[in-house]
Symmetry: C2
């Protein structure tokens, strides 16, 4: 093992240790007065119940999935199609199934531990808010960082561990074959992420919409009022959606994209071997090392989360983000310099390859920064889009919805252009890196992989900011519920507003990384298909010259598969959105029943049965996540079996494009509606004479409609689409042998 | 000229003559009492004003466009890239510009004449409704058929005329080169269609939304109340959107798809010549002859539009549709048998090619029937989707919108699957037709072209049914306005409900034909690019083996172009939807001013200034159509210049997929919202105890919100997307030489 690759286990273990240190630090803090603790306990119990039931369901689904995948792979990966012919049949089946289970288990573990801390950080943040803004920020951010570090570290250690284990245990596997054997890990992670995000997304928005409708609209009591039996479910929902759901989403990103980049590294490994460059295997380990440096940078940045009491809390968080970014650039420069050694051989430009790839990595980091600002422009009240929606609310809910839809659609423009520029730029930089070097083909594609890796260096920090969202949201709920003093509530309100921004940023980041990574995952799929086809040609079971050289959209099968892929995105979203409606209905029925049968609730003499609503929501959400989940898994398999391996590639690519754009529309449209409502509530909307049109006006009611419509868009369907897009990639990567024709 | 090709001019002229006969018949009918005539005159004046201003604007834009295209083509089509090298430079530039202008002029002429009759048929339908249901149906359907016949006949005669003229005047052009020279005709038609549909769509929905908001919501007076100054603009809008807009849309379909199919016919012509089949040029004329038979079938079907007074009027229209379909099948069988003569040479199956292609044509006709039923399922109140939305209205506007969005998304599934099956089936049938015949390559693609031609045989009838919509809608308005007796209003209400269905059907038909045709238009683009590349290779200005053999999505430029193409669909829709909002705002301001400054309006002592609202709406709509129009034209050109000819093909294909799916979502979602409102108004929604929840309830108000939201979706953005998709195809076909790299 080369010296620099030790960074992988060291950074991984350091990050886990640091997460434990942060967890201990948070748990040791003051939990505030008993009233706060009571509320927090109720939320915690609800979250625990959900987590237990959800992960039991997902665990069982994953076990069934692992067995099916193992059997299918054992049957399909016969000697003439297997990527590692010596292990054809049962051994590859078992190895894929084990990798799948390890991936699923790591994803579940990081989700469960993250949730464990998140639902314990909320009350401590509320307690800290009684004393100091900065302390409250620190508690919430440290609580969030536990999730962030665990997700990234477990994905890194998981990929690295199973890679090393397979190499060590089965001597036949060389470093160039191992990446193909661990794709099951990525699929396992996708599989868990799909259900975690769907179940969490359905739960959180059904609880939100359902309890709002039955409380605010029907019973006429305020939002977050303790008399509403659905309110605790709503607070629980923030955690299961944003913390557990998004955590699983980004766990999957880091895992799948690492493996995809390693597969592309295999092609460079071959080039390096042919040209006698030193340490050719470093090209395969590069993605993991880069991730290790990203983790180290994030650990350092945690110490920069400090500021003054009067400062905008967003600035405090931004400080840490910029520290992470700048340290990441340094880590990127060092890693590319050390690992991309071509033994003095230079491309036609005369500039060493590592410089070009360093540039590609910077493109990735810059894309991440760009998305932070794009998301802010479209979803913050200081800019045109949100104001436009708020203005449109003056003429009622219909114009509010029309305007928000127009904004949502519009956001695809700058998103697509940014991604397009990033892809073309990093591809061009990669091409330059190997231009003129004999036998080099894949420089451009490896350039996009390096850009993706660069972008993902800051994942742990982004995820910490994301989980900051539900923690502060919950802290606000705890303060409201326990009737805490005004000062504390003012601080939690400020943090909550910041949390809304960070949650939106994370979605932008997730979608951008998914689209950048998409190109690398397609290429990994094509590499894998060609490995199989090459084996078949070598064995004489296939005619020469039939490698997959292009994914030809002008072929009718490819075109139809592409059409089906784009359709899947809509159909899946339809199922996810409808699931929220159905689940919300069961909450409404239950809360109505409690109002009717427990008359003491209204005058505070009787405590509503919060746990029962949590339980009903949990069951309903888990039942509802099955249909979209199965559609997502079954469609690519069906298309692959019917239309073949080239068509599946077309489906994957066009499905990704459609998914990225629809998710962007849903996420940003939903975010803009939410903030248009907040814009009006903050008294920023005025009539022609300059009078404030605020809370309680018809315009505000119209904006509430938009906010409610946006909820399932931005927190259920949109984030689930991120996962769908990556699931398409991992499922086709794992099941490629099944589709060969 | 072969005997059978005489069908083209004969059918075209017969259809024009028949349209004139129908027009005379309609105009000679009773115009009813003076009160009706007064209202109708106001609508007619408004429509005339809009048509005059709109077509003046479009005409000027088209002139500018023709000059630019002529100059660009003259500059770019140098000898080594021109599809007809002997005419390189200025001659090709002039010919393309002239074809563009003829296409634009034919489209404008059919739009103007269709509108002329449509706004004169409404009052006659209202008058007929005082006497008889069947007579009213006949008047409205004959008025609509004038548009239908003119659109199809002028497109047929235009393509054929310019084709024959170029062949006759410039002796250098052979039958195999001419189709490439007339692509400008299709582009001219697309160009006019884009602005006609955008301008009409913005106008109609801005008038609808604006006058509803200011009348119903603000002033509290009923819909279509004569005191609302915006009501006449609303009635005018029905004509300019559905009649002129959809007419231009389908004019373009028939023109562009004819030309595309003729270009594909050139490849078969070469095959036929090589194999010494009799009359090889018939393969090129086939699309036009088929269209001629479709027109003849539609003329016959007009005599079957009869029935009893107590019958559902939809059955009367369906009778004519089925007559057209059955006669078309006969025409298809005859034409394929006569024109697809392979001189006894048979494919491996032993079944003559014409049988296989006849099968492909039947697939096209079957697709058209399938879409009629699919649209009905998703937008009619008798089925699950509309009921689901109506149920969701019980919990307010937010759940109504969420539910409608889920339904809209869901409709993409069956749409995509039907199109996929039609494409694969017709491609397979086409492959069988030439399987085993020496030198045959393009059977499959020609099969999809024949399917498209089969589907488009019924266009004239479908378009007649579509224009039936605004005529009966207007007839209802005229009856309401002139306070006609109850019997007449009951009949117009029944016809209006049928008109809503036929308008929805036409959109389904238009989108299905666009998607089926998409594949043929891509193939025509690839053929044209390869003609140019082939010339370059022959001239030695290009390396051998660099033909465009595939559109490779795994190429980074193609992928980015595909991403931009899919994004364009959203961005364009965003601009179109926002344009409706902006235009509606100017109506609201003006109607409010009239209420304020003319106090006599409210007690009927003062007549509102309808004409001024019409004028303001016209100006605003035409101003607002420019931005989306320019974006639609500029994006493919920009992408082509930056990323090259292969990337443009990717943009075209993925943009088509994205456009078809988004248009389906918007059209069907909008239609379902509309009918959910009608479902509630008809007293079909009940509470748990079985009491009717009807007009005036909160659920009804919620459904009205959904209906208003759906308006710009289904009548502005959705239909404009049909045109955008086809514009992408014609613009790339015409400007292909510009993108070669």
């Amino acid at each position: 093992m080369e010296l620099i690759t030790w960074v992988i286990p060291i950074a991984g273990i350091a990050a886990v240790a640091f997460a434990l240190y942060l967890a201990r630090d948070v748990l040791s803090r003051d939990k505030g007065p008993q009233a706060m603790q009571d509320v927090a306990d109720t939320i915690r119990e609800g979250a625990d119940a959900f987590v237990k039931r959800q992960y039991t369901t997902i665990g069982m689904l994953a076990l069934v999935g692992a067995v099916i995948i193992g059997v299918v792979i054992a049957l399909v990966e016969t000697r003439d199609v297997a990527d590692v012919p010596d292990l054809a049949g049962v051994p590859i089946g078992i190895m894929t199934a084990v990798a799948f289970l390890v991936g699923a288990a790591c994803s579940m573990a990081s989700g469960i531990i993250g949730m464990y801390i998140s639902v314990r950080s909320n009350v401590r943040t509320a307690a800290a808010a009684q004393r100091s803004l900065v302390e409250a920020v620190q508690v919430a951010m440290r609580g969030g960082a536990v999730s962030g570090f665990l997700v990234v570290a477990l994905s890194l250690l998981g990929v690295w561990g199973i890679f090393m284990a397979y190499q060590a245990v089965i001597a036949d596997i060389t470093v160039r074959e191992a990446p193909f054997l661990i794709v099951g890990f990525g699929f396992g992670a996708s599989f868990v992420a799909l259900f975690a995000q769907l179940g969490g997304g359905i739960y959180t928005k059904a609880a939100d919409v359902g309890s709002d409708l039955v409380g605010k609209v029907e019973a006429g009591i305020p939002e977050d009022d303790p008399r509403n039996a659905g309110v605790v479910a709503d607070l629980v929902g923030d955690n299961v959606g944003d913390c557990a759901g998004r955590g699983a989403d980004l766990f999957e990103s880091t895992a799948a994209e690492n493996i995809g980049a390693m597969i592309l590294g295999v092609a460079v490994f071959a080039l390096a071997t042919a040209n006698n460059w030193p340490n050719p295997e470093l090209w395969i380990f590069f993605p993991l090392v880069i991730r290790g440096f990203g983790l180290l940078a994030t650990i350092v940045s945690m110490f920069f989360i400090r500021g003054s009491e009067t400062e905008n809390p967003m600035n405090i968080l931004n400080r840490g983000y910029w520290v992470t970014t700048i340290l990441s650039i340094g880590g990127l420069a060092f890693t590319t310099y050390v690992m991309m050694d071509t033994g003095g051989q230079l491309p036609t430009s005369g500039i060493p390859p590592w410089v070009w790839f360093f540039g590609a990595g910077v493109v990735g980091l810059a894309t991440s920064v760009a998305f932070v600002y794009i998301t802010q422009y479209y979803t913050a009240g200081t800019f045109r889009p949100v104001r436009e929606i708020a203005e449109a609310s003056k003429t009622g809910p219909a114009t509010n919805i029309i305007s928000g839809t127009a904004v949502g659609f519009e956001t695809t423009a700058v998103t697509a252009i940014t991604i397009g520029i990033a892809l073309i730029a990093s591809h061009w930089l990669g091409e330059q890196a190997f231009a003129g070097i004999e036998g080099a083909r894949n420089g451009g594609i490896f350039g996009t992989a390096v850009a993706t890796m660069g972008m993902l260096m800051t994942t742990a920090y982004i995820l910490a900011m994301d989980t900051f969202g539900p923690i502060t949201d919950n802290a606000g709920g705890v303060a409201e519920f326990s009737r805490a003093e005004a000062g504390a509530r003012e601080i939690t309100d400020r943090l909550d507003a910041v949390g809304n921004t960070t949650k939106a940023l994370t979605k932008g980041y997730a979608i951008a990384s998914a689209s950048l990574a998409a190109f690398l995952l397609f290429s990994a799929y094509i590499d894998k298909v060609n490995l199989i086809l090459g084996n078949q040609i070598a064995n004489g079971t296939r005619a020469a010259g039939t490698l997959l050289e292009s994914v030809n959209l002008a072929d009718v099968n490819v075109f139809v598969a592409a059409l089906i892929g784009a359709m899947l995105v809509y159909f899946f979203s339809s199922l996810a959105i409808r699931a929220v409606g159905t689940t919300a209905q069961s909450i409404i029925v239950e809360v109505r029943r409690q109002f009717r049968e427990m008359p003491g609730i209204m005058d505070y003499t009787q405590r509503p049965d919060y746990a029962r609503v949590v339980d009903i929501t949990t069951r309903a959400a888990l039942r509802q996540m099955v249909a979209p989940g199965l559609v997502a898994v079954a469609t690519p398999i069906g298309v692959g079996l019917l239309l073949g391996h080239q068509a599946v590639a077309g489906m994957l690519m066009v499905g990704t494009i459609a998914g990225v754009l629809l998710a962007t529309t849903l996420n940003n449209g939903g975010g803009a509606w939410d903030n248009a409502k907040k814009y009006i509530e903050s008294g920023n909307l005025k009539d022609d004479e300059g009078n404030v049109i605020g809370k309680g006006t018809p315009a505000h009611a119209a904006a509430v409609v938009g906010d409610t419509v946006g909820d399932p868009f931005k927190d259920t369907a949109g984030p689930s689409l991120h996962v769908l897009v990556k699931l398409l990639a991992t499922i086709t990567l794992v099941l490629a042998p099944l589709f060969i024709r």
